[in-house]
């Protein structure tokens, strides 16, 4: 709607020019009047208006008779906006005056149109400038909430508004950034219902009174005056809404207009872009952080692994650890207790990245310290558990560990298994692999670890211990099948006798990589192989040394003669003392006695099954030791069929040790069934060189 008064305040020249030309042409004086006859412009004070015009019954103004003046209404679409009066004019000049009024209105209309266009240009310019400044803020601030805050401050400068806020939900958290009115508690704006409403708006919505606002924002402040709400479109992961509020300050006359709407809509697009920028950046930073973390974890892990393998006579060792793409917590360690004894530790910290690597370093150090103080595997695990339980449970981590102490001198293996995958002991004589399963829960799971204690396994030279992490048997093929513990057991059974630990390790790794379909492992893979090897290889068929004296014997197969047999052996060994130029230790005699006692008992109980029979043979005293040949005519058997017992000290096995002891203590213990003289045991024990 045209406002003549306002337009002429801005463009007084439009009237002034017309009045000047009118005066030149007609000598008349132009005066612009309002509808009620008040002077708007042009009066120079020379005429008394009261004597010239008066108001008629219907309210319209007309000129009094003989006033020497003419008047015409200013009509816009039939609506009167005022009057144009000319003093010193003749009635005949009225058509010209009406034409002059039209001209003035045309000018004013054009002016108004021009001003409208200018306003739009200004809005567009404001919009551009605002968007520009918003994009500038991106460069000035590195954090999202600062950028948003600057953006809101720009908005409140351009749109006269008391309070502007951006509400967004990200990663399950609701955040509010606001600018404007001091002392507003963001808590009233940080409102999930409001955000949900804003986000579901199709477009910006303008409210110019409080009532309809309550539909979208039931908790709107009681003094809310008007409100613009808008959704902000992002690429998905963030839900964002923008709000502009005027509260109680009624003296701010501005209702929000369509122009504000346009401006805010384009600003919302920018804010959406800001969110996308930050979420993308967040993702990139998170990726980079993870990559770096994995790198550090891998470095920590690598630095933890022992630099070289122990060189223990009687044990051959090889180990490999292959970290997965995502670094896990596999670790291994070997502690050399003395010349012939080591403690092997293989463990897996449940968890990934730096926390797991830190715990790995902690637990590995702890186990190492304990292993150097104590050779009892369960005690090692228990000590580490006691020291670390609090830390582990706080970090919500636990550790599985297989700890084994191997003694190459006594051919003994002790182990404890805290929730780790079963290790495999392959008995070369029996050609049998056996699983060494968990003896307790993992370290850090429950307050006390008091399950089974250390288990004892009797081994023989040639036996192989295979310890690994779950990454080994969990390798899966394209069909989703796991390689499985059986897969490893099969390979161990097939190759352990004919290979060195390094070769066996390579075979297992080769099979694993051809079995597994994926290029990157999901888990670490650690594989340790320890083989008990004879410290001096003795040919079981041959013998070294010359016979100095042969002492034949014949006994009834009855335990009643066991004492006599021991006496015979003792006496023979005493003779040997005199025959060789070397001391024969008591331990040597004990061991030969023990072997004879075991063989005789075995023949009585198993070959003759406690039925009458003879045991014959000879003791041969040699310059290098003693050879014993024992014959029976009872039932033959396969001495390799039964592997030695795994003893649980809490429930030890009563039997099954006999033949194993013989193998353990004699240099040669060879058995053959159905020789011309019967079943034949051939035992040799050499004197120490």
């Amino acid at each position: 709607m045209i406002n003549i008064e306002l337009l002429l305040q801005q463009r007084p020249d439009l009237f002034d020019n017309l009045a000047a030309r009118w005066h030149t042409a007609t000598e008349g004086e132009l005066i612009l009047l309002s509808n009620s006859g008040q002077i708007i412009k042009g009066y120079n004070g020379t005429h008394a208006l009261d004597s010239i015009i008066q108001q008629g019954q219907s309210g319209e103004m007309y000129v009094k008779p003989a006033a020497n003046a003419i008047i015409t209404p200013m009509l816009v679409h039939g609506e009167r906006k005022g009057y144009l009066l000319s003093c010193n004019s003749l009635e005949s000049q009225l058509p010209m005056l009406s034409w002059a009024a039209d001209i003035l209105l045309d000018h004013l209309n054009s002016e108004q149109a021009l001003q409208g266009m200018t306003d739009e240009l200004i809005v567009a310019w404001d919009q551009l400038e605002l968007v520009y400044r918003i994009t500038q803020t991106l460069g000035e601030h590195s954090n999202l909430s600062n950028v948003l805050h600057s953006t809101l401050e720009e908005i409140t400068k351009v749109v006269t508004v008391e309070l502007a806020f951006i509400l967004y939900g990200y990663n399950g958290r609701l955040n509010c950034v606001l600018a404007g009115e001091e002392g507003v508690d963001p808590a009233i704006l940080t409102n999930q219902v409001l955000l949900d409403s804003l986000a579901t708006f199709n477009q910006l919505t303008v409210f110019n009174n409080r009532e309809p606002v309550l539909d979208v924002w039931p908790d709107a402040p009681s003094n809310l005056y008007n409100f613009i709400g808008a959704p902000i479109i992002t690429d998905g992961s963030v839900v964002v809404g923008l709000g502009l509020i005027n509260n109680h300050k009624q003296h701010l006359p501005h209702d929000f207009t369509a122009g504000h709407g346009k401006l805010i809509t384009s600003v919302c697009e920018q804010i959406g872009a800001i969110f996308d920028y930050f979420t993308l950046q967040d993702d990139l930073i998170a990726q980079e952080r993870l990559r770096r973390e994995l790198e550090i974890a891998a470095q920590i892990q690598e630095s933890l692994l022992p630099g070289k393998l122990p060189d223990t006579p009687g044990l051959k060792i090889d180990v490999t650890t292959l970290p997965a793409y995502e670094v896990g917590g596999d670790f291994y360690d070997f502690v050399e207790n003395d010349a012939n004894q080591i403690t092997a530790i293989i463990g897996d910290v449940a968890g990934k990245g730096i926390p797991a690597a830190m715990v790995t370093s902690m637990i590995r150090t702890m186990l190492r310290v304990e292993a150097s103080r104590n050779q009892e595997p369960h005690a090692i695990i228990q000590q580490a558990h006691q020291a670390l339980y609090e830390d582990l449970s706080r970090a919500d981590l636990f550790v599985t560990a297989f700890v084994a102490t191997l003694d190459a001198n006594t051919n003994a293996l002790m182990y404890a298994n805290a929730g780790h995958v079963p290790a495999i002991i392959y008995h070369s004589n029996a050609k049998t692999p056996r699983l060494l399963k968990a003896t307790s829960l993992p370290i850090g799971v429950t307050h006390q670890i008091t399950d089974q204690v250390t288990q004892y396994v009797h081994v023989s030279p040639g036996d192989t211990l295979v310890i690994y992490s779950d990454g080994v048997f969990e390798a899966t093929n394209a069909e989703g099948e796991q390689f499985g513990i059986e897969g490893i057991q099969d390979l161990v059974s097939q190759y352990a006798d004919s290979t060195t630990p390094a070769e066996l390790k390579d075979i297992i790794l080769d099979r694993l990589s051809s079995f597994s379909d994926s290029k990157s492992r999901a888990d670490d893979l650690t594989l340790a192989i320890i083989k008990f090897t004879p410290q001096t290889v003795i040919d079981q068929a041959a013998r070294k040394g010359d016979t100095l004296r042969t002492l034949p014997f014949t006994y009834k197969a009855d335990t009643i003669h066991l004492d006599d047999i021991c006496t015979t052996v003792t006496n023979a060994c005493r003779d040997l003392r005199n025959l060789v130029d070397q001391t024969v230790e008591d331990d040597f005699i004990y061991l030969v006695e023990l072997a004879m006692s075991e063989i005789f008992t075995n023949i009585i109980e198993h070959a003759y099954k406690n039925i009458e029979g003879n045991i014959t043979g000879s003791l041969e005293l040699m310059n290098t030791g003693i050879e014993i040949n024992v014959y029976d005519q009872g039932e033959g058997f396969n001495p390799n069929a039964v592997p030695p017992p795994i003893s649980n000290p809490l429930d030890p096995s009563e039997g099954g040790y006999g033949l194993h002891i013989v193998r353990q203590i004699m240099d040669v213990a060879h058995y053959e069934v159905d020789t011309p003289l019967g079943n034949h045991w051939r035992l040799i024990k050499y004197l120490p060189e």
Binding site: L562, D563, D587, S597, T601, P649, G658, I661, I665
Partner: protein
């Protein structure tokens, strides 16, 4: 083998073995442990001072005795083993299963 026993208190007995503990004597030793348990013994101290020789059958008798008294090493204590017995215990790792004392009095005094 000679086996004798005497009571140290109402439920603690001292079992003295004399001779080789092997397949021949193992059953007697086992029976002795069972008899004492039936008589109300809850704890025995086995005096091995007179045992010059033990083999795996003898070891089995001691393990059987251990189980007769509940499987707790405190309840079947071994005292004064000779060097051959010590060697066997070490070989079989039973030195870690049994509580072994240098003398009967040390076994008696231990917790």
């Amino acid at each position: 083998m000679e086996i004798s026993h005497s009571s140290l208190s109402s439920d603690v007995y001292l079992v003295a073995l004399n001779g080789a503990l092997n397949a021949r004597s193992a059953e007697d030793a086992k029976q002795t442990f069972r008899d004492l348990s039936n008589k109300g013994a809850t704890q025995v101290i086995v005096d091995l001072a007179g045992v010059p020789f033990i083999d795996s059958s003898g070891l089995a008798a001691l393990v059987s005795g251990l189980k007769t008294f509940g499987g707790d090493a405190k309840n079947l204590r071994l005292a004064a083993p000779q060097s051959q017995a010590k060697l066997l215990f070490e070989l079989t790792m039973f030195d870690r299963v049994f509580q072994i004392y240098e003398s009967v009095s040390a076994a008696q005094e231990a917790e």
